[in-house]
């Protein structure tokens, strides 16, 4: 690993972000990345965060048109309520703050505590829970579906709406609509090595893969002999479509888990598009890259979001963040 010691990994990364991105305010001590121009008058603030190790999520999505602030936890560990409260107070212009929370017990509990504390400080807070991973059965037998790739869709689309000056209830409602319209499925070709553990979280021999993994180095639901890119696309896209059942165009995120070469990921995208064509799902936009990652995991995930005209317009709206940038 390219690190000093496990204990300083997150602080080191934030120092490095500060040096590379003068357009952001980075509070290394407080583990916060904030838009330099926050709070923006008349705009709802968007705050997200979570364990580190998923970069560019979330700090790489801070900037005009997307997040107002991101809280960085330790590797794979939810941030603590203090961070979220400080973020909320830093970005609240009086229009309120939306917390974008990935559905993991830790994130849910810490953001819930933070919401209470922030309300005590006079900040109006709404929350959206992202839970898009169809590999997890959503029942009373689980902690519910994990929040993965759809987080990018929620942050981008809700961020664009907030940038237009929409009120908190509308931003929150749209964020929830994006989540409800999105599903993901992920596959690992290798395990993850966290700085704290220093060795792979599970044993995955070269000729095998894990289907239905999350973004925290946990094993998936099932292990199989290696599949081709085309077979993985069939399995993943079908898993998503069978749950989402879209009746209109989708945005596709073809996401690398961190150590998948872009060459392979683009090739995988070709197969994803083939399956979507076979299943007669029109694709309005496609984004390919390592966006919602799991440290050094090799693998990929597919997220589809069924969009209406407003969502597509907000997706296309200008965005200026370290990792996502387009328009004007």
């Amino acid at each position: 690993m390219l690190i000093n010691v496990p204990e300083t990994v997150v602080a080191d990364a934030l120092r490095g972000m500060a040096a590379a991105h003068p357009e952001l305010t980075v509070d290394v001590e407080g583990r916060l990345v904030v838009r330099r121009d926050a709070p923006v008058a008349g705009q709802v603030g968007l705050v997200s965060g979570g364990g580190s190790g998923h970069e560019p999520l979330h700090a790489g999505f801070v900037g005009p048109g997307m997040l107002s602030a991101a809280c960085a936890g330790e590797v794979f560990t939810s941030p603590v309520p203090d961070q979220m409260v400080r973020a909320a107070m830093a970005v609240d212009s009086g229009a309120g703050v939306l917390f974008v929370v990935k559905n993991y017990t830790g994130d849910v509990l810490n953001f819930a505590m933070a919401a209470e504390l922030a309300e005590d400080e006079g900040v109006q807070v709404a929350q959206v829970l992202v839970d898009d991973d169809v590999a997890v059965v959503d029942s009373s037998f689980t902690a519910g579906r994990r929040g993965t790739g759809a987080t990018l869709f929620v942050e981008k689309i809700a961020g664009a709406l907030a940038g237009e000056g929409a009120p908190l209830e509308r931003v929150a409602a749209t964020a929830r609509r994006v989540n409800e319209s999105s599903r993901s499925f992920g596959v690992a070709l290798s395990a993850v090595t966290t700085p704290a553990k220093g060795s792979p979280t599970f044993d995955l021999p070269p000729g095998e893969l894990e289907l239905g993994i999350g973004i925290h180095g946990e094993p998936g639901r099932e292990r199989r002999p290696m599949m081709t890119s085309g077979e993985i696309a069939d399995f993943s896209v079908n898993a998503v479509l069978d749950d989402l059942r879209p009746d209109g165009p989708v945005i596709a995120l073809v996401n690398g888990m961190g150590a998948t070469p872009l060459l392979e990921l683009y090739g995988f995208n070709a197969e994803v598009q083939r399956v979507l064509t076979e299943r007669r799902v029109p694709v309005a936009r496609t984004l390919v890259g390592n966006y919602v990652t799991s440290l050094d995991m090799a693998g990929c995930s597919v997220t589809l979001c069924q969009v209406d005209e407003e969502m597509l317009r907000l997706w296309d709206a200008p965005v200026r963040t370290p990792a996502l940038r387009w328009g004007r």
Partner: protein, 207 residues
Amino acid sequence: MLDSDFFHRWMTATAVAVDREAGRLTELDSAIGDADHGSNLRRGFAAVTAVLDEDTPQTPGALLALAGRQLIATVGGASGPLYGTLLRRTGKALGDAAEVTPGQLAEAFGAGVAAVGKLGGAQAGDKTMLDALLPAAQALGESFAAAREAAEAGALATVALRARKGRASYLGERSIGHQDPGATSAALLVAALTEAGAARGDDGSGS
């Protein structure tokens, strides 16, 4: 009677045990979670002892409440709010007495554990820290040693369970056969009571 020194020793003994067992806790979390439980609790209890060593609250209730707030402020993840709530609510239940009886502690601890259940929505058998905490709270009325044994037995019993809460639940059937990291650390916390008591020959059996 248990004074604030006793509770200070409890937190210190827990910090030592967590530090010693951090590798094992992370290893367990790596099998069915995300490989951070050891470093999470090490960071948290180091912060707890740091703040207590600097400025020790004079009542057991205030001390545990401070320890709980410190866990919430430094751990993150699922275990931070849960362990933080456990100590905070136990402390709150102890009120502002300068000393408490083992029986009062047992009762307060029961309230703390109930708060954990309420916050996380887990029940006995869901393969979480509650599977160590609930039997420990039960046995704490008897003695520290009994609580310790109950917690350790509860933690061991999680091996056979299928997880229904927390990250391990994502694994479904594949979660069976592994000991829950949170139940394991909960047993360390409970075992540390014996150590804290031993320093003054207090075995927690009085009331």
